[in-house]
Symmetry: C2
Subunit: 337 residues, 2 copies
């Protein structure tokens, strides 16, 4: 089978040439788990950080041997546990860049293939969607009267943040994204009220204009500086979710991500750190709530799809440079065999 | 009557020589308010900041004319509103350094002189106590299982924070204060489990030892750096109340008070900015809850008392340098006339 690995250790923002697709033996089915044929592979920014050993203390894969980490959606082809049987559809954060994954049962979540397109379980119903739901419904508790600002709004977290905020009753949803094409996705597909292109001149003035009554909630995906910019537009008692600091994933020096405590006090702001791992036990609850939104058309998503593991390195490089258009998903094998 | 004012504008940490006690005419009773004879005058750190025009956008008093701002406890001597009558005891944040205060009714809160010593309404039942209660019960929502850390723990805010935390069920309460005398007050009078002297060598190791299972709540009175030190000892999901940044009240350059967003996320911390003004409408509720704690001996307080307005400048200078021992209160006139 094919397996995607690092050619060498990396200490830079990964590029396509850092990866190798090699032949590896099909693993044996673990005693307390399953073998899964990988169908959809999710590419996510945190993996870029993890390949450099910078993510939550987790180790980078061994070059020319270990699979690149990545969430997968796939189908059980062999099982040694009673809870899972051949043919079941599953999602796992522990799959990785490989055509067949050996997974212990605790790392596998069974999914219902009828509730939504299977690839959605890599994005809007996957970890990015769960992240958005956790921040909006469990931490910021968005409801009627809220004005919500989110950056990286064209991405699968940011785009879902705004849409769930709207579903939960927010009055106004504003995004920040890079370039007119992404901004169009945010307003035209995701239905945000406005999206500010941070690459355009005068964008900070545009942001102020888009928030005439300030914001009551911000969801931070990019940096401490952006969080502080959001806070300058905050009404008092605003809630902020600190989720990602992707701007610093590949900086040469580790940032202190400075937030201004004086501004937080002055605004009586409430800031919450979000790590989506904590909400994995509530994944099924999220899907039960969100799948009908997809069916009804209230929750939209965009995908940047590649076909075949060989295409993963190039798509990953695009992701690292923000050039993907929607959730980066590699369809490793056809859904039906 | 006597009135305390600035001799000149100040752009340094105020010293006794910056103040003048002058003779001023007794003001007239406002149409919509009362005249109050000042009995107890509260001296508070925020006033030092305000005298430099640095507090919440509020103006400094006019030199040789306007009274130094300060909360007072006093007795109505003339009233033009039906809600207040001669002889009523009142508290006001708008009193100031003067023997008689002219106050509009909206700035006056009637107090019951029987629930606690009158001077307590300047400290433990006054703004410092309300600050502590708001942060512990309304923001951090301290209860059983919590370990609480607070700095400036010998002061009226910090000391009350720890005691209310204990009353609300906290398992362990740790303070930080400057010098053995203050630390003894914190442990022996306020009953904290431990108090770390930040002026002693190796104090950061002592702090770690005092928090063997980490903290679940911290209440920050001093600086962003201290908040980050607290966060390094935080369990995940810790709650932090950002209340005061007194270390920067008198720095030459305005600080950015940097908090590390990465650490906040990693700890899944929840930080809340606290401005006590917001809780003024709940003052009577606080007193109703806290006065019985004073009677029962669960809530202790210490005072550094001076007698006569002439003594206010020297006590204020001691306060600015952290040399006060307990709540700084000037008893301007006897309680009974």
């Amino acid at each position: 089978m094919k397996l995607g690995t690092l050619k060498h250790t990396v200490d830079h923002k990964p590029v396509a040439g850092d990866f190798a697709i090699i032949e590896a033996p099909v693993p044996a089915c673990p005693e307390n788990g399953v073998l899964v044929r990988t169908v959809h592979l999710s590419l996510d920014p945190y993996v870029g950080s993890r390949l450099r050993g910078r993510h939550m203390g987790e180790a980078a894969p061994e070059p020319m041997k270990g699979a690149i980490p990545g969430a997968i959606v796939g189908q059980v082809i062999e099982s040694r546990v009673p809870s899972l049987k051949e043919g079941d559809w599953v999602q796992s954060m522990e799959g990785g860049w490989q055509e067949v994954c050996a997974l212990t049962a605790e790392h596998v979540r069974k999914i219902d293939p009828s509730v939504a397109p299977l690839a959605a379980h890599a994005g809007v119903l996957g970890m990015p969607g769960l992240t958005a739901w956790s921040g909006i419904t469990q931490l910021a508790k968005v409801g009627a009267g809220d004005t919500v600002l989110v950056d990286a709004a064209a991405g699968p977290v940011g785009g879902t943040v705004g849409q769930i905020a709207r579903i939960k009753g927010a009055d106004r949803v504003v995004g920040i994204a890079g370039g007119p094409e992404k901004c169009a996705l945010v307003t035209d597909t995701y239905g945000f009220d406005a999206c500010i292109d941070y690459k355009a001149e005068g964008w900070k003035d545009r942001l102020a204009e888009a928030l005439p009554d300030g914001l009551s909630v911000f969801f931070e995906n990019v940096s401490a500086d952006m969080a502080m910019l959001a806070l300058t537009h905050a009404r008092i008692y605003a809630r902020g979710v600190l989720c990602g600091l992707v701007d610093a994933y590949h900086t040469e020096t580790q940032s202190q991500h400075p937030l201004n405590a004086g501004l937080i006090i002055g605004k009586r702001a409430q800031l919450s750190g979000l790590v989506v791992y904590d909400f994995y036990p509530r994944w099924d609850e999220y899907i039960a709530e969100a799948a009908p939104w997809i069916t009804s058309g209230q929750l939209k998503f965009a995908e940047d799809r590649a076909a075949g593991l060989e295409e993963a390195p190039a798509l990953f490089e695009r992701l690292m440079n923000g050039k993907n258009k929607g959730k980066a998903v590699v369809t490793v094998a056809p859904e039906s065999v």
